[in-house]
């Protein structure tokens, strides 16, 4: 136990003290912060190409009014096209929009000509189109004699308001679900799943590389003449894991902090613009009248007393299983890196599968795939944390955690058996058959 601690300490300290680690740990958040802000600025950037457009509207479809936008200025004109073209060539404006009179009110297509030597940029083009569509709609409503207010009443926005039937004692009056619950749960679950996935992969390959280095530099034989191979392996797994956690914690604090500081410093309006156009989830929530306060309330309402400890249990479980397997593979690979890559495939496949199942599990957390995958020990470290936010039944959590803990012992033991033989094998290509034999050979 004492020696295990010494090994853990060395594995941890030598890594943490390395310049590369310190640089990566502190520069990455800075880089991310700056990157984030730059991205925000880029997306906030709109066309600064101002155009003056003359509209020729003989049928008065537009009703002689067209609101200017940031980059487009409109004027109406009754002059003939020939006269306008002359003025265009004197560079009095940038383009002519010719709106034909509406002949058929039933028609669902309409072409509006834009005359210019310079094309409209795509953003202005679509803005112009949607503006014209709105105007035409108004025109048709008037021309067809519809009642504007009655028509408006057709557009209804519906939200499903969930509530629990069997509430906990003393919580009858409290609302336990809101329409936000599933959205927040999905986001939290996805985040946890991704963190697990990254930690497993990054740490696992770090352990593997370190085992290989030890074997190749031949220090390992000196080491195991002082400590048991199992102690060395376990010490390495825990030490490297602690390094990963350290880095993760520093990032978890620094990245949001730096992003905040940099955005404040650069005077950028925060939340809505921070999101690239793709991430419209939050904007939609805002639009539908929900405010960040509700969101925070929802996050606070989640059962953190269950989620956090369980997340830690599953994190440690997944970490030990995969890191020990990576250590075993590292010990078997030895000198030839390229040849040995094939040995990592059986480990990476379950991790990647689990990741995809996790994505599905967020959308359908109670599907049979999600339930069984969250119980199967090779998948559960990634899938179960994603489901935790959806309040899965207690028996599933207990079964999954129990199986996971048993599997940790099994896989660490299994890897230890491969490791103790593998690290002393030189110059031999380790096939799966060979590794199978190692499992059953005596010490």
């Amino acid at each position: 136990m004492d020696k295990l601690w010494i090994i853990i300490k060395r594995e941890y300290l030598t890594r943490v003290k390395r310049k590369a680690f310190i640089l990566a740990t502190f520069l990455t958040p800075l880089f991310f912060g700056i990157f984030f802000v730059v991205i925000t600025i880029i997306f906030a950037y709109q066309s600064d190409d101002v155009r003056k457009i003359v509209i020729q509207d003989p049928g008065e479809v537009m009703g002689n009014a067209m609101a200017d936008s940031k980059s487009l200025y409109f004027t109406f004109s009754d002059e003939t096209l020939e006269e306008l073209k002359v003025r265009y060539n004197k560079e009095e404006f940038d383009g002519i929009l010719v709106i034909p009179p509406v002949k058929d009110l039933q028609s669902k297509k309409m072409k509006v000509q834009y005359l210019s030597d310079k094309q409209l940029d795509p953003e202005s083009n679509s803005a112009l189109e949607s503006e014209l569509e709105k105007k035409l709609r108004k025109y048709k409503i008037r021309a067809l004699g519809f009642d504007q207010e009655k028509l408006a009443s057709l557009d209804v926005s519906i939200t499903i308001d969930p509530d629990q039937i069997n509430k906990k004692d003393g919580a009858e009056d409290e609302k336990t679900f809101t329409s936000l619950t599933t959205a927040v749960a999905a986001a939290m679950g996805g985040l946890m799943g991704v963190i697990m996935y990254l930690m497993v992969f990054i740490n696992g390959s770090m352990v593997m590389r370190s085992v290989m280095e030890e074997k190749m530099s031949r220090i390992v034989e000196v080491m195991i003449s002082s400590v048991k191979p199992f102690q060395l392996m376990l010490g390495k797994i825990i030490g490297v894991g602690a390094v990963g956690l350290t880095q993760f914690l520093i990032w978890a604090i620094l990245i949001p902090l730096i992003a905040l500081i940099v955005s404040l410093f650069m005077g950028i309006d925060s939340s809505p613009q921070m999101m690239p156009p793709g991430a419209t989830g939050a904007e939609e929530l805002m639009d539908s009248g929900l405010n960040p306060g509700l969101l925070i309330a929802e996050i606070q309402r989640m059962n953190w007393w269950l989620i956090l400890p369980m997340f830690i249990v599953f994190f440690l479980g997944g970490f030990f299983i995969y890191s020990s397997l990576f250590a075993a593979v590292g010990s078997a690979i030895g000198d030839d890196m390229g040849e040995g890559q094939a040995l990592t495939i059986p480990i990476t496949i379950p991790v990647i599968l689990a990741f995809y199942i996790m994505i599905v599990a967020i959308r359908a957390p109670n599907s049979s795939l999600a339930v069984w995958a969250s119980i199967f020990p090779l998948f559960s470290p990634i899938v179960m944390p994603a489901r935790l936010a959806f309040n899965p039944p207690a028996w599933q959590i207990i079964l999954s955690a129990g199986l996971l803990i048993l599997s940790v012992f099994f896989f660490v033991w299994l890897s230890g058996r491969i490791y103790r033989i593998g690290i002393l094998m030189y110059g031999k290509k380790a096939s799966f058959k060979e590794i199978g034999k190692w499992l059953f050979s005596k010490g």
């Binding site: 010494i6 030890e214 530099s217 220090i219 034989e221 000196v222 195991i224 003449s225 002393l424």
Partner: protein
């Protein structure tokens, strides 16, 4: 009293038997040569003694006790394939290895300082291993093997890759440590090194102990009572029996006799007849010759008590 005693030790790997019923005694305080060609099973045997692997069967006594988990701390092992953590600093690396051998940090620091001074390398304390040359690393490796004051030192081909100066330095340190009472196992395939350094030896071939005992006694056992006599002047013909005479060159002759006594008679006979003897020497077989003879002759164990 034996520091190490092996009784019927066996170890088989999937494809071959690496250690085949090996028994020997290693007296305390001696330098013990473990000899054998490459692949004979020396490293397998060492790994069993250092508790890196376990024997399939047989018993091993370390200093009178059955070999157990506490014993590796009393052993210093320098494997043939050597290595250190390249990114670590010399000082902290030595401390790490010493502490893993059960030495308290403060004591380890003191001992390391003594050794580094002895090798005149105190200035390397804060250098990284990767900054050192191969020869420098070997010195660090040696210090790491002995710093925790082991009772038994196991050196697997300690001179391979060392330049003559460093090899001599290490050789001197080995004999210093031995004078302090530390027992040394010296594993090599280079037979001539054993004659030079070792008191006792075991010869391993194909996993078997083919010969073991005191080096001097083994040589004595295998000697063929050959003698070389250098002289000046001429030896009259017929002075020595043709049976006795093996080889004759001007100024030098080689003869065989049934015993040292008989040889002395021959010598006396020569002197009486006016031959001027400049040198008289018994020719002992080299370990290499003994090895070849033993292995080719029978392949069975020869015991010298």
């Amino acid at each position: 009293m034996s520091i190490l005693s092996l009784r019927d030790v066996n170890k088989a790997y999937t494809n071959h038997k690496a250690v085949d019923n090996v028994s020997f005694e290693m007296p305390k305080g001696c330098i013990f040569g473990m000899l054998g060609p490459n692949g004979a099973g020396k490293t397998s045997l060492i790994r069993i003694i250092t508790c890196i692997t376990r024997a399939d069967s047989g018993t091993i006594y370390f200093d009178g006790e059955i070999l157990n988990e506490r014993h590796p701390e009393m052993i210093g092992y320098m494997p043939e394939e050597r290595g250190l953590y390249k990114k670590m600093k010399v000082g902290e690396h030595l401390i790490y290895l010493a502490v893993l051998k059960g030495m308290p940090v403060q004591t380890a620091k003191k001992e390391i300082a003594v050794w580094m001074e002895k090798f005149d390398i105190d200035s390397w304390y804060n250098k990284k291993i990767e900054e050192l040359s191969k020869g420098m690393q070997q010195k660090i490796q040696f210090i790491s093997t002995v710093v925790h004051k082991p009772k038994l030192l196991i050196l697997d081909e300690p001179f391979s890759g060392l330049d003559p100066i460093n090899a001599n330095l290490i050789k001197d340190e080995i004999s210093n440590l031995n004078n302090e009472g530390i027992s040394v196992i010296f594993s090599t395939h280079r037979m001539e090194q054993v004659e030079e350094i070792c008191d006792e030896m075991v010869l391993i071939n194909k996993g078997k102990n083919v010969l073991s005992g005191k080096v001097a006694e083994i040589k004595d056992r295998f000697k063929e009572n050959k003698f070389e006599i250098s002289y000046s002047g001429n030896i009259p013909g017929g002075l020595i029996d043709q049976e006795t005479l093996l080889e004759s060159k001007p100024g030098k002759l080689m003869a065989s006799a049934s015993s040292l006594g008989e040889m002395n008679q021959i010598l006396a006979h020569l002197i009486q007849n006016g031959v001027v003897i400049t040198k008289f020497e018994e020719i002992l077989p080299s370990i290499n010759e003994i090895f070849i003879k033993t292995v080719t002759a029978s392949g069975e164990a020869v015991k010298i008590d």
